[in-house]
């Protein structure tokens, strides 16, 4: 590279640090850093090790600009956020019709771990509740458990652009204590909704929940969906374009556990949360948001993450159904310039 090229690239890396949009995110971080609501998940000891003060916000735009604030490199387990993306992989493996015959897409209003199936069809309600996610994991193709896991990890890599590992202690703890999930799997087997390789599928499900990610990965997952299934940085396709809308729409209706209705109303950005403290949120065509903060509210969603998404949605008018002129213009804040008062 010529020296001018190096200077330009250094200048642009500095600009991404000093851009008004990142400054806005930093102010959000400061605003909610001291928020003391919520409780770190402790149903298995490994999750309880998370520090309540960990807090990261990352945004990746659909054209690949990355804005990070706070603890964006801290790893944690993806947990339920995996469900949205494994649903996408199942759609690619089998197509819409078959997947829908095994899992409905109806919000439940019940807790994520409730043992309920649709009475008429015996299908679990949607791929975001545990029962639906297990039925979805069952659909992931592969000769054996190793190959299925490998396909799953490769999928994550296509979305985030980096290799992922499983947190083995979390996986083993989930596996050991997951009686309720086993019960659900057997109930579904009873109705013929899942194949009889139950142990293998449950392992895969617990493994998908134990994939280690950071806030930047979450933003990248979302930005890839926002960009029509292509990772905006590596330019690799992560999911068939035609299934992107399936994943995003189920995130909107079912992604935030039984707070999904209120989320759709107040925030209006399709999102998926996990008990590890992550939220991944997709603004189609524009950007992906990743937040990480372990304390959760009573419904299992990260308290700081909710606040951050609410503010971003309101300040930049990113609610899906917003038609009013927002307080701040997203393009201008990202591009920067003298007209923006970011103080």
């Amino acid at each position: 590279m010529s020296s001018l090229g190096d200077l330009q690239s250094l200048a642009s890396s500095i600009s991404s640090v000093t851009s008004p949009f990142r400054n806005y995110l930093h102010d959000l971080y400061e605003k909610y850093r001291s928020l003391d609501d919520g409780k770190v998940a402790d149903y298995i000891p490994e999750l309880a090790l998370a520090k309540p003060e960990w807090f990261g916000i990352c945004i990746v735009t659909a054209d690949g600009q990355v804005f990070e604030v706070g603890d964006c490199q801290q790893l944690f387990t993806v947990q339920s956020i995996s469900k949205a993306f494994v649903f996408g992989l199942a759609l690619e493996d089998h197509g819409r019709e078959y997947v829908n015959s095994k899992v409905s897409v109806e919000p439940t209003g019940e807790a994520f771990n409730s043992i309920v199936l649709d009475e008429k069809t015996n299908r679990p309600y949607n791929p975001m509740v545990n029962a639906g996610a297990i039925a979805t994991a069952d659909l992931i193709k592969g000769k054996n458990s190793t190959e299925r896991l490998k396909r799953l990890l490769e999928m994550f890599k296509r979305y985030t652009g980096r290799d992922h590992e499983i947190n083995v202690p979390v996986f083993l703890s989930e596996k050991e204590t997951g009686y309720r999930n086993k019960a659900m799997a057997y109930l579904m087997l009873n109705f013929g909704m899942v194949s009889n390789k139950i142990d293998e599928t449950l392992d895969l499900y617990f493994q998908q929940c134990s994939v280690l990610v950071n806030a930047k990965d979450l933003a990248m997952l979302a930005a890839t969906l926002a960009n029509g299934g292509i990772n905006p940085v590596t330019k690799e396709r992560a999911i068939d374009e035609k299934y992107v809308q399936d994943v995003i729409s189920v995130m909107l209706t079912c992604g935030m556990y039984d707070a999904s209705g209120e989320w759709a109303y107040r925030v209006g950005i399709p999102a998926k949360s996990g008990v590890g403290g992550g939220i991944t949120a997709v603004v189609p065509g524009k950007l992906g948001i990743g937040t990480f903060s372990p304390p959760l509210d009573a419904k299992g969603n990260s308290t700081r993450g909710i606040k951050v998404c609410e503010d971003i949605s309101k300040d930049f008018g990113l609610h899906l159904f917003n038609v009013a002129k927002p307080e701040r213009n997203l393009q201008e804040w990202i591009a920067g310039g003298d007209s923006i008062n970011d103080w």
Partner: protein, 252 residues
């Protein structure tokens, strides 16, 4: 809206810290809340001008960059030390002068994002009207950052060939970083020079405004960084020149 002013020179010994201390104090004396950050992590020194002794510097910028404290915990109110009274306030965030601390930050580096975030938190926490950033000479990531976030960048140069060449490089970088406003200040001009002609020549060379020309002053040297010159000798030519520069920053 708060204003960020970075003071930089390509080479060492141009009088950057002295200049920063005098300019920031001059602005604070006009009733503004002013913050100064010593980002010269490898060779800190400006705390001397503000009469802050190393043993008083319990927390420094280093502790913030290591994630140990919020940045405002490293801010010291030095208003009384330099004689700023009334509405005006002067706060300094020093860098550590402990050899171990300097070694540690040079060895491990730090995240430049943290520095940017720290500047913002400092301005907000202490409700600053002006933030002055004193930098290490030459080009480094903190230089790049401070140039990029500045509302005003002041480049100090002496009438010397090495300074002229280095300043040209810095001017190029500053333009690449889309700096909002650049001012040049000529320091240590010896008595045989025609100051007005020198000013014109420098302005033509770099196509930027020269905000002030400071003669080489025995009086400044005599104070030997033990205090802020423009408070001790408010009617001195040098102090008058600082008021001129301060006015350009406040009005510009």
């Amino acid at each position: 809206m708060p204003k960020v002013v970075s003071i930089h020179s390509y080479r060492g010994g141009t009088g950057k810290s002295n200049f920063t201390a005098n300019l920031s104090t001059t602005v604070a004396l006009q009733g503004y809340r002013v913050g100064v950050v010593d980002t010269d992590v490898p060779s800190p020194g400006i705390h001397n001008l503000f009469c802050l002794e190393p043993e008083q510097m319990v927390k420094t910028l280093n502790n913030y960059l290591w994630g140990e404290i919020p940045i405002e915990e490293a801010a010291y109110d030095v208003s009384a030390n330099v004689g700023v009274e009334g509405a005006g306030k002067l706060f300094l965030i020093p860098s550590s002068v402990k050899a171990d601390d300097i070694a540690k930050i040079l060895k491990d580096g730090y995240d430049v994002k943290l520095l940017n975030d720290g500047f913002r938190s400092f301005v907000k926490a202490l409700k600053l009207d002006y933030l002055f950033i004193d930098t290490h000479p030459g080009l480094s990531k903190e230089t790049f950052l401070s140039i990029a976030i500045s509302h005003v960048l002041i480049l100090i140069l002496r009438p010397d060939k090495q300074d002229y060449q280095g300043t040209a490089i810095t001017v190029d970088v500053a333009r690449q970083l889309k700096v909002r406003k650049m001012l040049l200040a000529i320091n240590k001009a010896h008595s045989k020079l025609n100051l007005e002609a020198l000013k014109q020549k420098v302005e033509e060379t770099y196509n930027e405004t020269v905000a002030g020309v400071f003669p080489l002053s025995e009086d400044v040297v005599q104070l030997a960084s033990e205090g802020v010159f423009c408070v001790r000798y408010p009617e001195h030519l040098v102090s008058q020149e600082f008021r001129k520069v301060a006015q350009q920053i406040i009005e510009g």
